[in-house]
Amino acid sequence: MDGVHDLGGMQGFGPVEVETDEPVFHYEWEGRTFGFAMGTLGAGGFNTPMFRHAIERMDPGHYLTSSYFEHWLTAVATLVVEAGMISRTELDASVGAFPLARSPAVDADDVEIGRRAGEPRFAVGDAVRVRDLQFAGHTRCPRYVRNRRGVVVRIEPTAAVPEVEAHRREQLLEPTYGVRFEAAELWSDSTDANAAVHVDLYERYLDPA
C-alpha cells in the first residue's frame, strides 16, 4: 500500500534528533509492550508481515505522532481483536476507546499467490527495472524505487513473499536480490555523483532492463 510508513525520500520532516546515552526503554510500558508483543505474535501465529501490515494500517496521523512502541501496542491490539482472541468490548471497557488500525484494504482471497519461483532469474551484474506494481495490501517494495533502474549486486537467500504471507499466512519462497541504484537514478535533483542506495527486492518486483 502507498502508506504513511513508506517514508523513503519524503521531504519536510526536519532534523534527526539524537538523544545522548539513550536507554533501551524510556518507560516501563515500552519494555512490557515489547515483551508481550513477542509473546503474542508467537502464541497467535501472527507472522512478521502480518504484524508489519497491522502497523501500516494505522491511521496516518496516529502513526506519525506516536512512538515505535505505540505502533507495536496498536498492532498487537489490532491483531488479537481481528483474530477474536480479545474482544473490542473488553479492550474498550478498561480504557475507553482503544485506537486500533484500520481493516485491510484487500481481501485475502483476492491476493494472487503467483508462480512458485525456481532458480534465481537474475545474476549479479544484471540490469533490472523495478516494476510499477500497485497493491493496496502489504508489500516490501518501497515507492521510491518503482520504475527505477538498478543493478543486481547480490543474490540473497530465498524468502517468503510478504504479499502472500501477510494476507494468506502461506509461505511462498522466492529469490531476493540486493539491487544497487545510483542516487541520480532515484533523485533527479541529486547533485551527489558518488552515492548509491541498495534495496533488497523480491524477484516478482523486478523486470530485466
Binding site: 512490557r32 508481550f36 515505535y68 480479545i86 518501497p142 537467500p157 531476493t176 551527489d192 542506495v197
Partner: protein
C-alpha cells in the same frame, strides 16, 4: 497501593493505560505469561546490545581470517562469538574502506540487526532519518556529525527484505598494539550503523 517504580511521578498517560490494559487481558487469557515478558525485557535491557557487535568488530580488526569469514558469511561468523536470535538470521557485514562509507537504514519500518546491536535508538526509527537517509545521505551524515568527503562513495543499505546489515568501521589509526578488549571499547553503536566513524 502506591506506584513506586519511579517512572510515573504523575498520573498514567493514555498510552501507559492502554499498554497496561492490554497486558492484563493477554495475561488473564493465558496468551502470554508475566514471566515471559520479564525475560524478554531483561534480555534486551541487559544482554543484547551494541556491546555484542563491538566484540565482533574488534575480533575482525584483530584477526584477518575472522574478518574474511565475517564478510563472506556474517551470520555464521557472528554465531562463532555466540550471538544470534530474532532479526539475526541473515546478517551481512559491509566494510568501510578509505574509498567507501556504508550506512544502514530501514525506510519501511525499523529493521535492525538485534543480536549484534540490540534494539534501535529512537532516531533510527524516526521519520526524519528514514525519509532522508536514502535521499540526501551525505548531507544528513554531515548534519549528524559524520563528515564523509565527496571523494568517498556512500553506500546506503535499505533493509527492505530479510537481510540485516552491520557496518564494519575502519580500524582507527594508532591502535596497532591495542588488544581485542581495548578495541571493543572504541567501537560505538553509531559507527556500526554507519552514522559515525570511530
Amino acid at each position: 497501593m502506591t506506584d513506586d517504580h519511579g517512572h510515573h511521578p504523575g498520573p498514567l498517560t493514555d498510552v501507559e493505560r492502554r499498554a497496561r490494559a492490554l497486558e492484563e487481558l493477554l495475561i488473564e487469557k493465558g496468551i502470554v505469561s508475566p514471566e515471559f515478558i520479564d525475560s524478554v525485557v531483561e534480555a534486551y535491557a541487559q544482554d543484547i546490545g551494541p556491546m555484542n557487535g563491538a566484540r565482533v568488530i574488534a575480533r575482525a580488526w584483530n584477526d584477518p581470517a575472522y574478518k574474511q569469514r565475517l564478510l563472506d558469511d556474517g551470520t555464521a561468523a557472528i554465531a562463532e562469538l555466540g550471538f544470534g536470535g530474532p532479526e539475526g538470521d541473515h546478517i551481512v557485514a559491509v566494510e568501510n574502506t578509505p574509498s567507501v562509507h556504508n550506512v544502514v537504514v530501514c525506510t519501511l519500518c525499523s529493521c535492525y540487526p538485534w543480536p549484534v546491536l540490540g534494539l534501535p535508538p529512537n532516531w533510527y526509527k524516526s521519520p526524519p532519518y528514514r525519509s532522508r537517509m536514502v535521499r540526501e545521505p551525505r548531507a544528513l551524515l554531515r548534519e549528524m556529525g559524520c563528515d564523509v568527503p565527496d571523494d568517498v562513495e556512500i553506500r546506503v543499505w535499505d533493509s527492505s527484505a530479510e537481510v540485516r546489515y552491520l557496518v564494519v568501521p575502519e580500524r582507527p589509526a594508532g591502535t596497532e598494539r591495542a588488544g581485542e578488549e581495548e578495541l571493543a571499547g572504541m567501537v560505538t553503536r553509531d559507527a556500526m550503523i554507519g552514522v559515525a566513524r570511530p
